[in-house]
Symmetry: C2
Subunit: 182 residues, 2 copies
Amino acid sequence: MSTNKTVYVILGLLSEQPLSGYEIKKLIKLRFQFFWSESYGQLYPTLKSLVKDNLIQVFPLEKQSSRNEIKYYITDLGKEKLKEWLFVSPEKETIRLEILLKMYFSLNTPEVPMIEYLSAFKDNYSDAINTLNLFQKELEQIAFEDNHEDILHIIDFGQKVYKAYIEWSEETIKYFKRKNTK
Amino acid sequence: MSTNKTVYVILGLLSEQPLSGYEIKKLIKLRFQFFWSESYGQLYPTLKSLVKDNLIQVFPLEKQSSRNEIKYYITDLGKEKLKEWLFVSPEKETIRLEILLKMYFSLNTPEVPMIEYLSAFKDNYSDAINTLNLFQKELEQIAFEDNHEDILHIIDFGQKVYKAYIEWSEETIKYFKRKNTK
DNA sequence: CGGCGCATGTAACTTGTTACATGATTCC
DNA sequence: GGAATCATGTAACAAGTTACATGCGCCG
């Protein structure tokens, strides 16, 4: 029952505006970075298969803005398919956090540089939360539009969760430092 | 460079005690539920390939406790391999949260039952956090052992992150309710 | 003797990443 | 003219899920 989600990210983004594969990749990175990602190896073949199923279409050659780029637009069938998916309950997410696994299995191997791992983890999410904060400010500044408030809530998810990540890593770093000096 | 992590979960668990595939599956669910999962379709074939690589071994028939069960133990080579992995920095985790995707793409489709989705999300993690709290209390009660404090920190990760999830979903539910009555 | 939980397994498939190849365009 | 970035693509592989099949042992 696990439907290919890549399909819906593409349909969703194309439902706003026509885009090329490359632009889709960039948009996913820009907007969804903190809760979604796609690789080219997944993206381009999916675009092809969506065209075959008539859920999206390629702009006719004469409408293309550059020779290299291939812009796609969503068809009515595609819009339907997207809407259908929106009405299906989200599946339970599976998360895999290698750092916790390593922490667990290195309980008896104190030489493992857990503090180093935790610092990298923390730095990574500190950067991410800064990006989100910036994004939030930008959104708050520009004139109020329909969806801004909704999007702020999506950003807030990232902020809250990353804050938890960061607090946990700080505390855990302290714990390991204390432990090491004992 | 993405090494098969299932290998290391198995090696890690077997480094504590001999186990069967079925027991490994159960242990992963019990201990790692909130940050790891494995399916049988991944587990059993991996066990076979680990035996082939001499990282684990099957107990000789006469030592098996029951006819159905196949217990494995870790070899010295396996212990080495596990240790090696512990010294490699954890890879960046990829998270995919379908609920945020649906929220984003349903901005213009208010009929989508986001409140329902959010409630299910919240309930799910409320249950999970209760389990973790119980687990924590159990650990705190039994006499102090080597690794309890470390494990408490691992549990604390789940507690902090789930708390963030729950707070976010509560706030977002409120937001949607307000929005609907407008 | 029926059902549940224990226990192992696999085939078919889907999903996803990585590494590579290719070439145009833009900017310095 | 060289580097960066735009832009598309694929082949080989790795990872992972699902659905199914099979049979034992125990309890009521």
